[in-house]
Symmetry: D2
Subunit: 339 residues, 4 copies
């Protein structure tokens, strides 16, 4: 049994993580912290867990002090606010899995340009590994700081990694058109996120400017072996959970749908949470699971590859992936506590 | 006052058309027909209209006989089933506006390939005009057969027509990623369209094979002056009405977002139902209206144009456009009876 | 043509009212005011109306000064904040229709108990008429201050008024169980109103304590001729617009469903916006209309009457009713500008 | 480990049951049967389970033959179709848990009147126990045939059982107003269940005639000690899962909210899946769990008790309860495999 602490337990990702860790057979939750709700039971904020997780939320200050007592720290915080917690964990020799954006981009400048904020833990940046297990499992095993990928990012990278690694596509032609449920925007009291506003409607937003863009590009570039730039367009659609990513690129040479399908199956043969599917994907098929479903399509008339991927933004796109990373780091079965 | 008849009044497009015509100050509805519900009042199928449109639905056989008594016929039928009605109207010297697909494709072979059905009114095909008023208003004025465009099609063509006409983009790089509400699939008792199935989920479907593809290509090719092929991906999202089309293409040369925005405004300066917007679009802003909103975005890093367009699939994407066409044909104000 | 001003134009009721008045053939909108958005065009807050209602919102201070220039003032404000505007209108000899709660309760004490706020316009209270046209049309005609009923209230009173007036039920056994869409809670940035929270869920709230209770009781008591007390339970359900009210009471004596149905039809024979229906009601059938649908059911086994009523909370439950009242006050056709 | 078979595995309740049993640590699924989909893998109908439950569905004929090989049979079938399977199981000495309605009503006549169908297993009826563990745990333990309660029924009976058992209310004044998500209507290709129809709308249906009425009355009568008749009104609301039941009755004598709350807590002190809550309930708090939340309210002005209860119609309202019953029958921990 290992002891875990969660900082930022009452956001949507934090809540889903709390739920998963609470059921995990090898984990004891040592503390849950929240800035807004400290002093209250977790189950008061999320009454789903009355009688199940009634642990009282502590302040982040108290959480900071308790870091040395645990085996693994999870931070689920807005960008630019996890630096101190990660430092403290690192200095205490504790493993830390950051669900936020602060350690995902290897390049400081890229981080500061896209996030418009100073990075105050540069020295730790090179010690962090990008926690996408399907690509970096070995690195994750030995690392102390895991930068858990974003939701759009996980869907998009997993959809395109094999095609770039295997040079199946022209890297200059990549377009990612992604559709997300509303929990992806977080638990914020904002007018545009009201049921009365975003219900029965769809919108594109963050066009050519969304912060997940450089993260996707960084990982795709590693796969490809040289710099990849993409166009990424997120959309908000009227559902609570789920992301569908529709990715387009020109096929480099000639590959059939069946060939590419097989190459993807081979690429992910050791990835227990990737399902290469033959049919159309629907986000409901991965809801509340840690799966990322992927399906391959070709447009013969234009020689284009279309890859769709689907995941639950709060599970494989956040907390499920964090648990998967924890499992790997601690030598547990990768699927332990996940479904 | 003109007299109108509707064949297929109880599908979603037919219902919306009935509603619009009933309020139109220059139209009397002479008959409403339905195969499934003939003999019943329209308001029994759509109780919204109790006390408002209680007219009894007639059979399509009876409708066929009544065609000579009216001034304009609307057909809102599944593809491959409007031929006889359009013929009868044409032979009777009656204007006909077909909301289905039977007269939209100028090329018989293309029709028969994509729709897998025989076209039995080839002679009338060349007499039909593609009823997208923003592009073909003058032709519509003098025509007797109007092929009213599809919903995905209207959104996509209006989004890309100026860019192709003005050669702002590389025509070989066009990708259209469209998102539609569920009424777009029609009023069919199909398991996948149940609230319990398609709620809280999103899917892509008809990838590289949807029948609106050749229709979009036909019109974009006319704009461009030579053959255009695109990749078109429709998506089903959990809302009832609305389409958002996100269109991508490489910019040919260098144009700023502002320049393209202005060129679009100029292009559509006489189109009362196109709004060139500066902000992100949401389908709710055009719901229950005949507007098609368009906004222009550029991705400088990849020199790509992203055009988004939004409309109500049952209004500007079907029945509103049909009324707009009727207004043009009969010399009414183009906006009469529409909002 | 009459000139109208709206104070509180950017709440959901205010917006729907603006939309209705803008289309009304006998009204010119003289001003729209908003505390939060003054100085901005109305269409910036509601982009639906770009090119349609671009009028710049003025401050409530400026609105107050302009009251003498108009013929009718609409106030759509939170309770306890309309007093000054109504006074100013009254003193200026201007008709005023208040969509809020400040003038609905005839009894000051009841108001102050339920709303926990001081009433600062007691003298005007007795000059105000309760603006439910189906019951008080004649009084409305001659009145200068119209207290426009609430949404739950309209649905519930119309459902029960005939039964009480005609003594069909035991007045001590009335239970009203109402279900409302989320716009009923207003346009507030509250966590519980987020799509991610109130989607896919239902709750009862305000049990035995909702402020619409004394309003319903006041009107039912007038119908009955003596004091009526009810149990009223509102519910929030995951849709944007609409209220369904399910009302229960013991039948006093023996009446069949058919008899009561006929008595209701007779009672509302001059009410153009009440439809006594024979089938199950659905709120979608009255959406975006000023109708209140009512249907009658009996439970023979328990000798109980069950009356269901359905309306659009923002139209017949707020702004449509306000327009209906305006039509009556100014001698227009009661249905003018409404559907 | 026990071996289980499911007949009717592809309806919504059957699917949820399959999911639960597949995870249950003490159960092996021996067979899954389906009339519509036999020969196909379960995961083809529900792609959620690709790689998880790929078992091929067998026909009901084949299932019938396999009954002797298992330890427990679950039947999840439309009413009137489970008789033969239950007989076969009974005759084979196999425990059977019927999720349908065929063995819930003790009185044949009542069954035949409300279900308009002949009961062809009368002799087994008296051997069946009504499988609501919170009331009949001891009987369930020793029984071979368990009639698993319906969804509306479970919510309503649990809400009212203590009040009747303890004579807190006047039994002649009970009204149950229940709100259900759309999965409650089953997986049927019906127009009224389409997203485009029942989305954004609410309706009452089955007023004074719903088949769950006699089932609720039977159990409440047992609690009360003499015949209880109620008025029951179900409503369909636009969400997928969940039931909220709002129950009304006159308080017999004088009890405070706090007293009744405490009496309910005592009544359910050994019921691990009932949570007596102090706040407003929301169905999302019990979604995907086997909990039934209950909260107590009083209307002092009218001396009425209002009890609300919330559950997941497919879990505590169907398959979760079936697993709970199985756990009891086989002496497992009542909570095993449930959450």
């Amino acid at each position: 049994m290992i002891k875990a602490g969660i900082i930022g337990a009452t956001g949507y990702a934090g809540q889903e993580l709390t739920k998963l860790l609470n059921k995990h057979p090898k984990v004891i939750i040592e503390f849950l912290s929240s800035n807004s709700y400290s002093g209250k039971p977790f189950s008061e904020i999320y009454p789903h867990f009355i009688g199940i997780i009634d642990k009282v939320l502590i302040s982040t200050d108290d959480a900071l002090k308790k870091i040395p007592d645990i085996d693994v720290l999870f931070t689920a915080l807005p960008h630019g606010t996890a630096f101190d917690f990660v430092k403290k964990a690192f200095d205490s020799g504790i493993k830390v899995i950051d669900l936020g954006a602060d350690f995902r981009l290897n390049d400081i400048e890229t981080f500061e340009n896209w996030y418009k904020t100073k990075h105050t833990a540069k020295d730790l940046l090179e010690k962090a590994v990008y926690g996408l297990p399907e690509l970096w499992k070995d690195n994750i095993k030995g690392s102390q700081i895991i930068a858990n990928p974003g939701c759009y990012t996980t869907a998009s990278i997993l959809a395109l990694a094999p095609a770039l690694k295997l040079k199946l596509i022209d890297a200059e032609t990549i377009i990612v058109d992604a559709k997300s449920g509303v929990t992806g925007a977080g638990r914020k009291a904002d007018i545009p996120l009201l049921f009365s506003e975003c219900g029965e409607s769809v919108k594109a937003y963050g066009i050519a400017s969304h912060r997940h863009t450089p993260e996707i590009e960084q990982e795709l570039s590693k796969m490809y072996g040289s710099k990849v730039q993409i166009t990424f367009t997120p959309h908000l659609i009227p559902m609570q959970k789920g992301i569908l990513s529709t990715c387009y690129a020109q096929i480099a040479g000639s590959y059939s749908k069946e060939e590419i399908h097989q190459l993807y199956k081979d690429f992910y043969k050791d990835a227990p949470f990737v399902r290469i599917r033959e049919d159309y994907l629907e986000t409901r098929f991965v809801k509340d699971t840690n799966y990322c479903d992927i399906s391959i399509w070709t447009d013969k008339r234009t020689n284009r590859l279309i890859v769709t991927s689907a995941l639950d933004n709060l599970v494989k796109g956040a907390s499920g992936q964090a648990v998967q990373n924890m499992n790997i780091v601690f030598g547990f079965d990768e699927k332990e506590g996940l479904c």
